[in-house]
């Protein structure tokens, strides 16, 4: 048989609830019945002992030596019929001296065993010939100096009957109870999950145009409230990312428009009057330079998109940071020589720093940072590259800091410098302005590699850009 899983949580919860409740009830009913049966049986045994005591006082031998039970204590003679005790009196040889009428001539408990009744009250369970179960006790007692064996028992049939009726009653009542409980459980689950439906409906209505909408949090401290808060945080992050994207698109359009308008203006101005050949060459050359700038901006945007799309499971390899820095220094060596800039590296720990990241991306990040340092350094100055290790959240990081002696970063621009298309307003640095993407690309790459990049503002002069990258 194929069991199909119900689609909604309400039904599943209700079914689970009913199944568990039913299991508990079955165990509970079984325990109650067994416990009750044992308890009542003990009670019967106790009653039988008391009855034996009573009977002992009522037995007597008549002068002919026949044993009798004195029954003249009943207030009404027919009350005798109410007694349901089963009793046999035997002498020590096993001969039955007396048998109660309730036995209807049946033997109670078979032949006597040798030491039956010797130790106060012997208890055992037996059956009459008509199949009735009897709880029987045997007791030896002297009557008028004659030792007799009293066998006294009660039928267990009424108790068993009552137990069966009790069980049947429960058998009928339990399913009804379970159905009611299941229904109630379903209602409760439905009620408890109602906020989820509301949340889902609300979340469904949120699109790009109303990303500022939030899910209503009714009870902030319960689970659903927590869920709503988590969803709201998600929406907030989405909204931020979306706003950022919109701003970025606007910025990008602006950044592309600037070289375009320069192109257009140069072309228009050039064509307004006849020029010499060198004049035309000059204009066309200038226009081509603008296209290069335009192209670089587009390449930068594409690189950002690529780094943005890079997941943590990208093409990572292990590589030496020292080697990478050396490689970059070889690349910019000609610039350093030309401007008489000295690079001093501080590698005093000497341990080769093996990083685990996308090497080509990290190379671009480091090259951008180092290139910035070269760009802003005055001639005949020194750039210091320092390496150190640090632990953070149980992970080891390699820090590399590039410290130049240029104009530095203004205190108010310490985070802005990493923003896309940021170019400083400061008059000392504005002459160096580039595409405004270099540092934001570096930051994105470092962030995506699990590290961080920042400017150390504690230095007195120059700019000190530090990158932390996770070690292998």
């Amino acid at each position: 048989m194929k069991f199909t899983r119900p689609a909604n949580i309400r039904t599943r919860l209700a079914i689970w609830f009913v199944v568990i409740l039913a299991s508990i009830l079955i165990v509970y009913i079984a325990a109650v019945i067994i416990f009750q049966y044992v308890l009542l049986e003990r009670q019967i045994y106790h009653d039988e002992i008391q009855d034996v005591e009573t009977v002992e006082g009522l037995l007597y031998f008549d002068p002919q030596g026949v044993i009798h039970l004195q029954e003249n204590y009943h207030s009404h003679p027919q009350s005798r019929l109410l007694e349901d005790r089963l009793m046999e009196i035997r002498d020590l040889s096993g001969t039955v001296l007396y048998r109660s009428e309730t036995l209807h001539g049946q033997i109670l408990g078979g032949a006597s065993s040798p030491d039956e009744g010797a130790n106060s009250y012997n208890e055992r369970s037996t059956r009459l010939s008509d199949g009735t179960r009897v709880l029987l006790i045997s007791h030896l007692h002297p009557i008028q100096d004659k030792l007799v064996l009293i066998r006294l028992g009660y039928s267990m049939a009424p108790l068993q009957d009552r137990m069966v009726r009790f069980f049947l009653l429960l058998l009928v009542a339990t399913p009804i109870g379970l159905i009611l409980a299941g229904f109630a459980g379903y209602r409760i689950a439905k009620r408890a999950l109602l906020p989820l439906d509301i949340m889902a409906a609300r979340a469904e209505s949120i699109t790009a145009s109303n990303l500022n909408d939030r899910i209503v949090v009714e009870h902030p401290h319960d689970e659903l409230g927590h869920m709503a808060k988590v969803l709201n945080h998600l929406l907030e992050r989405l909204e931020q990312a979306f706003v950022q994207l919109q701003r970025f698109t606007a910025d990008a359009a602006h950044e592309l428009r600037t070289p375009l308008s320069s192109l257009r203006a140069t072309g228009e101005v050039t064509l307004q009057e006849s020029r010499t050949e060198s004049g035309y060459r000059e204009s066309i050359g200038s226009m081509l330079e603008e296209t290069t700038r335009l192209n670089q901006t587009i390449d930068g945007l594409l690189l950002l998109a690529r780094a943005e799309a890079t997941r943590s499971d990208g093409v990572k390899t292990s590589f030496s940071l020292f080697e990478l820095v050396d490689e970059i220094l070889v690349l910019v060596d000609v610039l350093l020589e030309e401007r008489h800039i000295t690079v001093v590296q501080d590698r005093d720990d000497g341990v080769p720093a093996l990083l685990f990241a996308d090497r080509s991306l990290v190379r671009i990040a480091l090259l951008n940072v180092l290139h910035n340092a070269v760009k802003f350094s005055p001639d005949h100055s020194t750039i210091r590259i320092g390496f150190s290790r640090r632990e953070s959240d149980g992970r080891a990081y390699q820090r590399v800091c590039v410290h130049d002696s240029g104009p530095g970063v203004a205190a108010g621009e310490v985070t802005q410098v990493f923003e896309r298309f940021f170019t400083s307003n400061s008059p000392t640095t504005s002459k160096y302005s580039g595409s405004g993407l270099g540092l934001s690309i570096a930051k994105l790459i470092v962030d995506r590699s699990g590290g961080q990049i920042f400017f150390d503002m504690s230095v007195e002069h120059g700019a000190k850009c530090c990158i932390d990258l996770p070690l292998l």
Binding site: L288, E289, T292, Q296, L303, V334, E338, I364, L437
Partner: protein, 236 residues
Amino acid sequence: MQEKPKLGRILIVEDDRKTADALVLGLERGGYQTILARSGEEAFFLVHSKQPDLVVLDLTLPQRGGLEILAQIRAHSNTLRVLILTSHNSVDDRVTGLNAGADDYLGKPFSFPELVARVSSLLRRSTGVSERSSPLKLADLTLDAQTRTVSRSGSVIDVTTREFDLLLYLLNHRNDAVSREMLAKDVWKEVSRFTPIDNVIDVQMTRLRRKIDDPFPVKLLHTIRGVGFILREPEQ
């Protein structure tokens, strides 16, 4: 300037009119014969009727995509050279294009000197003409790739490894302009297009010029503003 012999017949498949015009003009100036197709249908017809030596193929075309045309070309001929010229410029696009049977791939916007260099390289490859052998000479400048020496007017010039590689590249492309993109890719071996090395190239070029040109009255290495550099014979 004297009329050069036709170096080869090039089919240009390009739907953008301005780009197409520039390609025709530029390649014909470079000594090639050109045929222009503005759609996939036309291109397919012209490949068969005009028997070009090389196809410069745009990928986004009306009616038929460039890759479809490429597949049809490859179904008939394995010798016809195909250079894809497109704005789809990611690594994946390149791999797709090259796997489809293209011989080369150039992303838009491209530098014209690079296109010319690649076209001439592809056509050399197809006609089996070998690279210009060393020692390379231009006017009184000599470069011997075997001994890695450079001399001008008989006196040996001391150059760094990078300067040697740069000069070798310029000599291999003598009389043709080379762009910074070409130098970054071929001499500096920079794979990423966003590495800020344009000023590295400029400074390196200044230093090279200082060694091979400055001490001599006749200048060989010239900067073409907005385009790049050219190493050329002095005009008579």
